[in-house]
């Protein structure tokens, strides 16, 4: 028994008279007499939580006189329908869903018309809310009309989509996107990818690509459109910065861009920093170089102009004052 949310429901105890003594239960639990009008069960403004197995028993004998499974739900709202060709020119698929659940079973019926011709949309086993159609004709200006009807015990609704063959072509994103640094090139990144495997004939129906990239620390994307090939070298990367890179695809002539591919990260090649502990460096820096003993640039605390002394013992004014102050404290 299906009822709408908010409805008032009256259940009769089978053929029992109105004044018969009965007991009602829901899911095995007795229902309070305040819900009874004689032997009738009255449920006002039913909610989803009142779904369940309702049973009515004769008072003294406890014989089961009536039973029903109440399912509280809603009639379907207008369904959401989408059609797309990610495997052009083989065919297209349509998929659908309800914007809000009905809480009761629904059946979906789809019809596809091309001009005056009815076409069969073969339902996929998985997912269940999807069907696919093979193109019988290509390059037609005649539009396709797809109507989806959803029905349940409480009502019916439908939606219609009308489109032409080219408009729904949208490939899947490119696959296997790889980004690598280029040795000895601190501003380059080599990016490569593959055509989506669902695109059946890239030779006759070539794809073009859109690449976007940015360093993680910035919000602004750089874009490059590529009319052929499945690789590209970025030549203006910021040295040493990690990049995020994505690629999208589109048929060369028709349809819309795919979603962006999975993002990949890469950092351009950087020169290996020189370490203090290597022997070669110790023997090399005997006299002139003070780099081993100077603070790195990011931690610089004074200007070169403020230096006093020379060579390995050069000390700037600020540091000198600090050292002097501490020395006085400990005398």
């Amino acid at each position: 028994q299906f009822e709408r949310v908010g409805a008032d429901v009256t259940m009769k105890c089978g053929s029992m008279d109105w004044d018969a003594a009965v007991t009602w239960t829901v899911n095995g639990t007795d229902i309070d007499e305040s819900h009874l009008n004689g032997s009738y069960l009255i449920l006002k403004n039913v909610g989803l939580s009142q779904s369940g197995q309702y049973s009515c028993y004769e008072g003294s004998s406890w014989h089961l006189k009536y039973q029903t499974y109440l399912r509280v739900g809603t009639p379907p709202k207008e369904p959401v329908l989408m059609c797309r060709s990610n495997n052009y020119p083989k065919g297209f698929y349509c998929s659908w869903h309800l914007p809000t659940p009905t809480y009761i079973p629904n059946t979906f019926n789809i019809s596809v018309i091309h001009g005056t011709k009815d076409m069969v949309c073969e339902k996929d086993a998985v997912p269940k809310n999807r069907c696919h159609i093979r193109y019988l004709q290509l390059f037609s200006t005649v539009k396709y009309k797809v109507t989806l009807t959803v029905t349940n015990a409480l009502g019916k609704n439908f939606t219609t989509l009308t489109f032409d063959e080219f408009a729904i072509v949208k490939p899947d994103p490119p696959e296997s996107v790889v980004a690598k640094p280029v040795p000895n090139n601190p501003r380059r990144l080599e990016v490569s990818w593959q055509n989506p495997s669902s695109w059946p004939d890239p030779e006759s129906f070539p794809l073009k690509f859109f690449l976007r990239y940015r360093p993680l620390i910035l919000d602004q994307w750089q874009h490059v459109e590529l009319s052929d090939g499945t690789s590209h070298t970025i030549t203006d990367a910021y040295a040493g910065k990690e990049y995020i890179i994505q690629v999208a695809a589109k048929d060369n002539d028709i349809g819309t861009w795919s979603d962006w591919s999975v993002a990949v990260h890469a950092t351009p090649w950087t020169e290996e920093p020189k370490h203090l502990t290597t022997e070669a460096q110790i023997t090399e820096t005997t006299s002139a170089s003070t780099s081993s003993f100077m603070a790195p640039p990011t931690t610089k605390i004074c200007d070169k102009g403020a230096m006093v002394g020379s060579g390995a013992v050069a000390v700037c004014w600020t540091a000198g004052l600090v050292v002097a102050a501490y020395s006085v404290l400990f005398i």
Binding site: L138, F139, T141, D253
Partner: protein, 195 residues
Amino acid sequence: MAAADSPSAALRRRDLCSRGIRLAGKMRADVVDLLDTYVEQQGLDASASVAAVEGVPLAAVERWDEQTGTQRLLENLAAYRAFRALLAQMLEEQREQLGEADAGLGRALAAVLLQVSAFAYHLEELLRLESRGIPGEEGDGPPPPPRLGLFEQKLRGLGVLRELAQWAVRSARDLRQLAKPSPATGTAPGLVESP
């Protein structure tokens, strides 16, 4: 058929196909722009469905992937010859209706007509390369339809431009098929046929 198989012929075919693909791409872009202008200038609804008009070659085709190379070339040639005549008629009608009032639309129509003529010539070159006889233009179907009323002319024009835009896409695809080397012989598929 020996000429069609020679390496120089294969190179020439590939060259003609790539240029044809570029021509078709440019033609399509210009036809799409022309469609926007045409719809606006003629006061039409861009989304209006137009019934198939007699004499306008339909781009729609079944079993497109099974066509031979020669079929593709012959169907394309017949179509573009028909469009050449249809566009010439549209240009004449447009000049009669609007005179100099809409020179922009006239120029755009003339430019597309030129491209259609060039593409038809390109297809003839490809057919010559395959040592195929070029069909005479008399055999290209029924004569142009009788003169229509003004509104019917506008709708026919819409139908012509829409189908031409579809053909431009189809032609690029057809030429890519033609440009594919056959795995066994190295020649384009479907062009080497038994006599």
